[in-house]
């Protein structure tokens, strides 16, 4: 039982009560930036998106090929482990269902990898069936580098560190390999509705 903080009243509860903000998070109209290092600015000519690992034939798309794939526009709520949530964010990108297509794999996990060396791990089933995208537009405009452009993973049902910025591909894996923040004490799965912020939550 938490003690009452003398004189604390709090505010901004309307959406919390409507069930759109997970426990411990608060709403922000801003779009905070959290990254562990500098923002990469690599030439788009050298960009590619790869699917590799536990697959007979790795797949790879250039930027031109990637942006020619069928895209989807989605409006989703996003939740950051650092406590902010942002409602009704609009993205355009390619569904992981489109990218994975009819790939035959024994993998049950993926490790997403990014420019700058960032990685994050997810169960494969969490990026299938309309749950994940590689997004390259935010709010109708090209995704800004500081928010992960040219393209980032978008997995809105998990804490947002799973939505890897500057994503360059996914590695299909039989075993679950913890990614960057998962190694530094953050939760391996990261369900905001169960408040799985840190290891052991």
């Amino acid at each position: 039982m938490s003690p009452v903080s003398r004189g604390f009243r709090g505010r901004r509860r309307e959406h919390v009560e409507a069930g759109r903000v997970p426990p411990g998070n608060y709403l922000t109209p801003d779009f905070p930036v959290l990254s562990a290092g500098p923002t990469p600015h690599d030439a788009i000519e050298r960009w590619s998106f790869e699917i590799r690992g536990e697959v007979d034939e790795p797949r790879s798309w250039t930027w031109e090929q990637f942006t020619a794939l069928p895209s989807e526009s989605v409006t989703v709520d996003i939740h950051c482990v650092t406590k902010w949530s942002k409602l009704d964010t609009s993205w355009t990108g390619v569904s992981l269902d489109t990218l994975l297509g009819d790939i035959d794999t024994s993998a049950e996990y993926v490790l997403a990898f990014s420019d700058g060396g960032y990685t994050t791990n997810l169960p494969l089933e969490d990026i299938r069936d309309g749950k994940a995208w590689v997004a390259y537009e935010y709010d109708g405009k090209p995704l800004e580098p500081e928010h992960g452009g040219p393209a980032r993973l978008l997995v809105p049902h998990l804490y947002f560190w799973k939505s890897a910025k500057w994503v360059r591909g996914i590695e299909l894996r039989v075993d679950d390999q913890p990614g960057f923040w998962e190694t530094y004490g953050y939760h391996n799965y990261g369900d905001p509705w169960k408040e799985q912020r840190y290891a052991g939550d």
Binding site: P3, V4, F8, Y26, P32, G185, Y198
Partner: protein, 241 residues
């Protein structure tokens, strides 16, 4: 990349406020007595949870300002006028009050002797807070690794830990005023200031950069353009874009 294992479950703990120290008009240091606090690493942060009478709770993260060697755990908090938690921590909290804490959190933006250097700390505004923890740890552990701080604030009155920082290899710069008698720099931490005051790229400094998003993006880009390796730059950003 170094892998710091942190597998212990983090539980909420009570901490008692020992003292609230005014640092600047907007910034206070909350000094806490936390009985079972596990020793943090310099640069880590902590989650703070407040509970209203009706049970409503709010959580925020704050950088730890104290070194692991310090007697008390200290958080330095900047008041955000439209904030929900920081006005409470800076204006309402009094010695004897209790806070709930969870942490320490974050295994990447930390420095310890074994990571080496030379150590370059670059802070903007209240981004100096975890860097101060690193400097205090560096001093308390009698490290011989060269350490240097570049710190920018809007005005002289906005400088946090001003007197204490005189004790370290520090370059201060003010972005919004040039007060009479000011012996530090003025203007932003840009390419020119970095090429002059930072360790050169061939010395491969280990760089910790903390501040508002725009500040961190600008300094990180300048550092990379000067030839510093992105993998040697650890950043922590706060605030909106």
């Amino acid at each position: 990349m170094e892998r710091a294992a942190l597998r212990r479950r983090l539980t909420w703990q009570f901490a008692r406020v020992v003292e609230v120290v005014t640092e600047t008009a907007r910034t206070k240091t909350v000094v806490l007595e936390a009985a079972d606090w596990p020793c943090q690493l310099a640069g880590q942060h902590v989650d703070v949870r407040l509970t209203a009478e009706d049970g409503y709770q709010a959580q925020r993260s704050y950088s730890i300002a104290s070194a692991p060697e310090d007697e008390h755990l200290a958080l330095t908090v900047e008041r955000l006028d439209d904030g929900e938690v920081s006005p409470y921590l800076t204006e309402t909290l009094r010695p004897g009050d209790e806070l709930e804490l969870r942490g320490p959190i974050g295994g990447y933006f930390v420095w310890r002797e074994s990571l080496g250097g030379p150590l370059l700390l670059v802070g903007g505004g209240s981004g100096v807070v975890p860097l101060r923890a690193i400097l205090r740890h560096h001093r308390a552990s009698a490290s011989e690794i060269p350490a240097r701080l570049l710190y920018s604030a809007r005005t002289r009155a906005d400088l946090i830990y001003h007197a204490e920082l005189a004790d370290y290899d520090t370059t201060l710069t003010l972005t919004r005023e040039q007060p009479r008698g000011w012996s530090g720099r003025t203007g932003r931490i840009d390419r020119d200031l970095l090429s002059e005051a930072a360790w050169p790229p061939d010395q491969r400094p280990l760089i910790y950069l903390c501040g508002p998003t725009g500040f961190v993006e600008g300094v990180a880009d300048a550092l990379v353009s000067l030839g510093h390796e992105p993998s040697r730059i650890r950043a922590e950003r706060f605030g909106p874009t």
